[in-house]
C-alpha cells in the first residue's frame, strides 16, 4: 500500500473551500508518512480543477472527466473511487465532511470494507498511522480514533484545519474511464435551486446569531444588519426557528448546523446545551443578553449585559465607522 489520496470537492470548475483544507491535511499526512500526495478529481470539464489541485500542493492528480460525473451522484463517483483505491492501494483516503465528502467516503469504505473515521478536527501521525481527533456526543467529549487495519478512510470537518498554501505546482493529470455507465445509474437529477449569494453558515468566518430575545421575525433585522456590516452569516437558535421567525437553514446547534467560525456573536440567546453543541468551537464568542446569569456567558470570551435592540445596532454603527463600510 502506498500513497495518500485526497478527494477534491468542487463546483462550477472551482475547488470548494473545504478542498483547500483537505489538501492541507493531505500534505501534512503525506509528509508525515513520507508518501506522495494524490488528488482525486472526478467530474465533467474538470481540467481546471486538476490544475488547481497541482497549484495547492498535489504531487499527482488522478481522476475521471466524463459527462456522467457532471452532477455529484455518489452511485457514480463512489464506485469509481473505490475501484481506483482497490487497484492502486493507497494508505489513506481523505475527504471533506461536506454532504458530498461524507457520502463519498462512506461509500468507498463500505464497498472496500475499510475502516472509516468521519468528521476529524485534527490529525496527527503516530507509528505510521493517522490518528484523528473528533468530537463525539455532540462535542461534549473528544475521541482520538484510528483505523487499525488496511485502508484508512477519513473525513475532516470544515474550517477545523488550515488550508493548503498556494504553490507553483504543475503536472499532467491521469484520466481514467468512469466505471458505471449512465444507463446503469438509478438516479437522475432533475432540478437544483441554488441558495448562492447567501453566506453559508458552515464556511462563514463570522456568524451573528439571534435567539428568542429578538422577540419576533422583525427582531432579526438588527442582527442581519450587523452580520452584513461584518461580512458574516446569519445564525439562529432553535427557539426562533420553531417559532417560524426564520428558516431552518439558519439554525445552529445539535439539531441544526455545527459551526466553527472565528467570531460568533450570540444575541438574545440563553446558551442551552443543545445550542452550545453547534458553536462551542468558535474561536471567539461574544454574548449579548439582558440576563447576567444566562449560561451563554459561561462560554463567552466577551459579554455585554444589555438590551440587544440597543447594543446590536450600536455595534453595527461602530463597525461601520471603523471598517468604513
Amino acid at each position: 500500500m502506498s500513497g495518500v489520496w485526497v478527494w477534491i470537492d468542487h463546483a462550477g470548475g472551482k475547488l470548494a473551500a473545504i478542498s483547500l483544507e483537505v489538501l492541507g491535511v493531505g500534505r501534512k499526512v503525506a509528509d508525515g508518512l513520507a508518501q506522495p500526495l494524490t488528488a482525486l478529481v472526478t467530474g465533467s470539464d474538470v481540467q481546471g480543477v486538476a490544475d488547481a489541485a497541482f497549484n495547492y500542493g498535489a504531487d499527482a492528480v488522478l481522476g475521471a472527466d466524463d459527462p456522467s460525473l457532471a452532477d455529484f451522484r455518489v452511485e457514480a463517483h463512489g464506485p469509481l473511487v473505490a475501484k481506483l483505491a482497490q487497484e492502486r492501494e493507497p494508505v489513506v483516503l481523505i475527504a471533506g465532511a461536506s454532504t458530498r465528502g461524507r457520502d463519498l467516503s462512506a461509500w468507498v469504505a463500505a464497498e472496500l470494507d475499510a475502516g472509516l473515521v468521519p468528521d476529524g478536527i485534527d490529525v496527527e501521525i503516530s507509528d505510521g498511522k493517522v490518528v484523528v481527533t473528533r468530537p463525539v456526543y455532540a462535542g461534549k467529549l473528544l475521541a482520538d480514533v484510528q483505523v487499525t487495519d488496511g485502508l484508512q478512510v477519513i473525513s475532516v470537518r470544515s474550517r477545523a484545519l488550515p488550508p493548503a498554501a498556494e504553490t507553483e505546482g504543475s503536472g499532467e493529470a491521469e484520466w481514467v474511464d468512469p466505471v458505471v455507465a449512465e444507463d446503469d445509474l438509478a438516479t437522475k437529477i432533475t432540478g437544483f435551486e441554488s441558495s448562492a449569494g447567501k453566506v453559508s453558515l458552515t464556511d462563514a468566518r463570522i456568524i451573528v446569531s439571534g435567539g428568542r430575545g429578538v422577540g419576533g421575525p422583525e427582531g432579526f433585522e438588527p442582527i442581519r444588519e450587523l452580520a452584513q456590516v461584518l461580512g458574516g452569516a446569519l445564525g439562529a437558535s432553535r427557539a426562533t426557528v420553531d417559532a417560524g421567525w426564520i428558516p431552518y437553514e439558519h439554525q445552529v446547534g445539535q439539531t441544526g448546523k455545527t459551526v466553527s467560525p472565528d467570531l460568533y456573536i450570540a444575541s438574545g440567546i440563553s446558551g442551552a446545551i443543545q445550542h452550545q453543541a453547534g458553536m462551542r468551537t468558535a474561536k471567539v464568542i461574544v454574548a449579548i443578553n439582558t440576563d447576567p446569569d444566562a449560561p451563554i456567558f459561561k462560554l463567552a470570551s466577551y459579554g455585554i449585559v444589555g438590551d440587544l435592540f440597543e447594543v446590536v445596532p450600536a455595534l453595527a454603527e461602530e463597525f461601520r465607522r471603523r471598517l468604513g463600510g
Binding site: S98, T99, R102, D103, S105, A106, W107, A109, A110, E111, D113, A114, G115, L116, P118, D119, P135, Y137, A138, K140, L141, L142, V145, Q146, V147, A186, K188, I189, T190, F192, E193, S194, S200, T202, L230, Y248, E249, Q254, T255, D262, L263, I273, Q274, A277, K283, V284, V286, K298, L299, S301, Y302, G303, I304, V305, A314, E317, E318, F319, R322, L323
Partner: protein, 267 residues
C-alpha cells in the same frame, strides 16, 4: 408497501458525560438518560406517513441492547405497525461498517422492503455514515439529506425527492428500492397518542440474532471492527473566562468591544 425505519437509542441531548477508566458514562439532570435519537423522530414520522398513504407496513428496527426496546416502543406508540429488535452479543462493539452489515441483513430479512428510512445522524457518534453504508451493503440506491418526498409510486417503482445540500436544494428521481436519510425540514414529528402508548406497552417485540440473520462472525462486532475508539476523553475546559464589558453608555461598551475584537484579529 413495506417501509423500514432504522432508529437508535442515544443519550439525551441534555446528558452530562464523564469518562471513567476509559469508559463513557452519562446521566441526565431530567432523569431520562436515554431517548430516541432526535434525528430519528423525523425518520419515524416519515415512515408512518408513507404507510398511511400507501398502506402496508412501517417497521421500526433497532440494533442494540434489550434496553433499546424503549426506542422501538416510542416508534410503535407514534404509529409504526411493527418493531424488531436486532440483538446479539456478537454485535457488541461494532463500528459503522459492522452496524451497516447487520442492519442491511435485518432489512433484507423483512423481505420486499422498498424504502428504508434513516435519521440524518446519531447524536452519540455523530457520524451520519450508516445510511450510505447500508445502501452499499444492500445494493440499493442511497438518497441522503432528504427534505421532501415529492413523489413515490410503489407500483412504477419510482421516487422523487428533494435533498438539502450546502449550496441549495437538489431534486432527484430514482428507481426503488432506496435507502434514504431525512433532515429536520421534512416534517413535524407527532407525539405518541394515549392509545398508541397503551398498544406499544402491550406489544411483543421479536428479537433477531446473528443466527436468524445468517451473519458470519467476521462481519460485525468488536473483532470485525476496523476502528479503534478506545481513547475518549473529556474536553479541555474552554480557556476563557468571560470579560463583561462595562461602561457608562452603550456607545462606550460597543467601542470597547470593537477594540477587543479587532485586537483578537477575528474581524
Amino acid at each position: 408497501m413495506k417501509v423500514v425505519v432504522c432508529v437508535k437509542q442515544t443519550p439525551s441531548t441534555t446528558a452530562v458525560f464523564r469518562v471513567q477508566n476509559g469508559s463513557v458514562r452519562w446521566d441526565d439532570p431530567g432523569g431520562k438518560p436515554n431517548v430516541v435519537n432526535p434525528w430519528d423522530e423525523y425518520a419515524i414520522e416519515e415512515a408512518i406517513r408513507l404507510q398511511e398513504k400507501h398502506g402496508g407496513d412501517a417497521i421500526a428496527l433497532t440494533m442494540g441492547s434489550e434496553e433499546s426496546k424503549e426506542a422501538l416502543k416510542t416508534a410503535l406508540a407514534m404509529g409504526c405497525t411493527e418493531a424488531v429488535l436486532v440483538a446479539d452479543e456478537a454485535f457488541e462493539g461494532s463500528d459503522t461498517l459492522g452496524t451497516a452489515h447487520v442492519l442491511a441483513a435485518a432489512i433484507r430479512h423483512q423481505q420486499d422492503v422498498q424504502v428504508a428510512v434513516f435519521g440524518k445522524q446519531a447524536i452519540d457518534g455523530d457520524t451520519g455514515q450508516t445510511t450510505i453504508q447500508v445502501a452499499v451493503k444492500l445494493g440499493w440506491t442511497p438518497l441522503t439529506f432528504v427534505s421532501e418526498i415529492k413523489e413515490l409510486d410503489p407500483d412504477a417503482g419510482t421516487i422523487t425527492v428533494e435533498r438539502l445540500l450546502e449550496g441549495g436544494k437538489e431534486t432527484v428521481s430514482s428507481r426503488l428500492p432506496v435507502v434514504i436519510s431525512v433532515v429536520k425540514e421534512i416534517n413535524e414529528p407527532r407525539y405518541p397518542s394515549f392509545m398508541g402508548i397503551r398498544k406499544a406497552n402491550r406489544a411483543e417485540i421479536p428479537t433477531l440474532t446473528a443466527a436468524d440473520l445468517d451473519l458470519d462472525a467476521g462481519s460485525a462486532g468488536k473483532a470485525a471492527s476496523k476502528v479503534d475508539w478506545a481513547n475518549v476523553y473529556e474536553l479541555p475546559p474552554r480557556d476563557t473566562s468571560v470579560e463583561i464589558i462595562e461602561g457608562d453608555t452603550v456607545e462606550e461598551k460597543v467601542k470597547k468591544l470593537a477594540e477587543r475584537l479587532l485586537a483578537e484579529k477575528v474581524i
